[in-house]
Point group: C2
Chain length 481, copies 2
């Protein structure tokens, strides 16, 4: 064998067998997921100190890697796919999504331009159009209009892109050329996600130029307060240009009154962006479509199929009513990317719809999820999650020990112990340390508040009921101390 033929690549038959074993490992993992503590119990550096300090000079067999997955990695995993995971927000996944991800990895294409793999772009555009129909979103987000949808990494990225499109629209393209001027003012509610603040930092708007508008007793933005603030800023010679409104805040799932906010935004000529990161999926059920009220007036809209639509991360869906505004803000065309399809104008080149140039074939997993479940199947499971949360809410209401912090119409229940913040926090520490469930907290009305977020793929009534028992037991133990 000449040196030219020497190879260190894994041969295809070995790959096939190793991939089968990897699939088996994943199936075993998912089958046994309830046997692990949901929140990883390791201490800092527990994982690293088991790994060799130096990279291997010679290659290792796959046995060693799979063994390390079980022995070293698994104890350091917080099990987001556990049915007992009620922390933060769901990041649910499903078998069809994983199958799509395998194919995406196997194809290994770059979808930066239509020409660099037309199917990568066209399936994505198509599935985004399906989402418009499935969720009852306004037709102007569909690709046959002036708008369209694109997959972004996260809602943070989508919001940044919306902000940039708005910035370029209001400055007539000047900000891209001349940079920031410290005069542009953005608005969101005091309960909005940190990504809005981060986007304002990144885009050179500045956090001092982001107004956090006051909220009502349900933690939803007050449109009158927004209107007053915009007028005050205009009176100062500043340039209001962007409102980000939340359909389901991260903290408490508060629903901003989008229709009223849209009226304010429109009257002052502001770009309206709607962040429905987690809650957006609920609109697949007609009875929850009240969350779309007012969205027909928004310039852009985003939600995460990688949160509550059984599609593994990353898969954010971002829609704009005027794709030219987005592309004007983000387009760059160097010589080495020129090609006939692009110059014909007949295709979408998604590199101009977001920050990065490269992109993988993420639409496959979403396509498979929608096809596997069908709209009916997705509706069934979303309804189930909401029903479980509503039951949990009722248990809290009926309890002598706990109380609701705020009402919620969907799948997040915010509640606390009646004996105060100390007991509430102790309950959280206890149940998370015990490992049978995992939930996280927020502050509402300056009270330490537990968040029971229900949306994991495998979560059923028994998991929620067991969680409630654990919380009650921890509450009694804490109150006794």
């Amino acid at each position: 064998m000449s040196d030219d033929d020497k190879t260190y690549h894994m041969e295809l038959e070995a790959f096939r067998q190793n991939a089968y074993r990897t699939v088996d490992w994943v199936v075993d993992y998912l089958a046994n997921i309830e046997s692990y503590p949901v929140l990883s119990q390791v201490e800092p550096n527990d994982i690293r100190r088991q790994l060799p300090a130096e990279p291997p000079a010679e290659g290792e067999g796959f046995d060693a890697m799979l063994r390390d997955m079980s022995d070293i990695v698994l104890p350091g995993i917080t099990h987001w796919q556990s049915p007992n995971f009620f922390a933060f927000f769901p990041a649910n996944s499903s078998p069809p999504a994983i199958l799509g991800e395998i194919l995406s990895a196997g194809l290994g294409v770059q979808g930066m331009l239509w020409a660099t793999s037309p199917a990568c772009t066209e399936v994505e555009t198509h599935v985004m159009d399906w989402l418009v129909q499935m969720l009852g979103l306004p037709e102007r987000y569909a690709s046959h209009t002036d708008g369209g949808g694109v997959i972004q990494h996260t809602a943070s990225d989508a919001t940044l892109c919306a902000l940039l499109a708005a910035r370029e629209r209001v400055t007539g393209g000047q900000a891209n050329k001349a940079g920031g001027n410290g005069k542009l003012i953005a608005y969101t509610s005091s309960q909005a996600h940190s990504s809005i603040e981060k986007a304002c930092m990144i885009a050179g708007i500045g956090t001092e130029n982001l107004r956090l508008i006051d909220v009502d007793e349900n933690y939803a933005m007050r449109p009158a307060a927004l209107d007053a603030q915009i007028r005050a800023d205009q009176a100062q010679g500043l340039v209001p240009f962007f409102v980000c409104t939340c359909v389901g805040t991260t903290s408490s799932l508060a629903l901003d009154p989008v229709a009223e906010i849209a009226g304010v935004a429109e009257s002052h000529g502001l770009w309206l962006h709607v962040d429905a990161a987690m809650a957006g999926t609920a609109a697949i059920c007609p009875e929850f479509r009240f969350i779309n009220e007012g969205v027909e007036s928004a310039d852009s809209y985003t939600f995460n199929p990688h949160k509550w639509m059984f599609t593994n991360f990353d898969c954010n869906a971002f829609f704009v009513a005027d794709r030219a505004a987005l592309i004007n803000a983000l387009s760059i065309l160097p010589e080495y990317l020129r090609n006939q399809a692009t110059e014909s104008g007949a295709v979408f080149d998604y590199r101009d719809w977001h920050v990065p140039l490269g992109r993988r074939f993420r639409a496959l997993k979403l396509w498979f999820v929608i096809r596997h479940y069908g709209v009916n199947g997705l509706q069934h499971h979303i309804r189930e999650h909401v029903a479980l949360a509503q039951d949990f809410k009722q248990w809290v209401i009926d309890s002598d020990e706990f109380e609701l912090a705020v009402d919620t119409p969907l799948n997040l229940v915010c509640f606390r112990h009646r004996d105060g913040d100390g007991v509430t926090e102790a309950i959280m520490q206890t149940v998370n340390r015990d490992g049978g469930m995992y939930l996280t907290h927020t502050r509402l009305g300056d009270r330490f508040t537990l968040r029971m977020s229900i949306g994991q793929t495998g979560t059923q009534r028994r998991h929620v009921a067991k969680a409630w028992e654990q919380l009650q037991a921890a509450g009694r133990a804490a109150a006794d101390n």
Copy 2:
């Protein structure tokens, strides 16, 4: 069966069988990849018109999805994993990378905080430290110093983060608060990647405040021109703050003289960022480590294992010498993300190292690639790619019909036909349309120039030799017309 038990989820045994079939599909695809035209031959809308206009109400079986992959998707794929793919840059993948991606999808964890899956953060930090050793990068990028590495989506994202860290350092954190002021000036070469310009747009610096420094006959930045421009800008009361230098430009793989540029940057107090997106991998071979000269003085450095290190997209490696500067630029800590591990200061929370909040377990695939190949195996294949490019270069030099456009020390050959741009462009159109290979172009010295980029996983001597025959044949046909 009560409605409560009803499920549309794919059962685990069905998932296992479907995953085996998906693996078989990928193995078949890779085994037959040379049988497809490298550049997809479809026309706009050819894929979409085969897809149902409406999403399915009822779920479909997996057979239909795999069939559509073969019948509808494959014709719309441009085969980046083909050994006959010589376009743009490599985006090579490998079996161990795909196995890591399967596990990442199966685990479905969010690594935004250390606490949300400690292994996701610790394996990443560890593998980044391995890269520092493997590539001979300066120790100050290793996590035991004040620096550290992180996986980003793409070099575009890494460069944006470097720019933001530099922006905040020079303004003492004021830009994040007050927004841009139009006075900050960034520098790169006239040959730099479009991502630098895009980052300046996004970050509110403005393209008018990005100076494209003149290059020498090898298309490398002239340090004296950089120094002169910085002085001229300072004399105007502007604030030079950032230099992005390229170790291997996208257009022609020109290597900027980093050591000299570092001297200029340091003398004026500028942040130096090194973009080695594709070429960086070459440093795994000691004989190519000349590309690291001067990098020890850089504030940040990035390269893409997802280009030339057999790791499927996305996997960009980004290093900083002063992680506090990066975190200061990007950190946000809302109440719902507070946790004990973060407040102890003993852990990295990677959400503060980049734009998005969420992140998947991308380190697994890189870990597997390094372990499968070992440093020796990676060196072997990188050497092989460079040797093939050097052979191709010699064929061009020895040819009466073609000529080199610029010398290159690594794996990209820029060349053209001696009969002028029309013939050169016709050659490209012919070979790409024929489908046996795919290459793209750039402009150098205002001449239409072909780029033969060699770095695909499966590319061997026979593929490069066949490509040369096809190019010569197309050249003769074009010259005869």
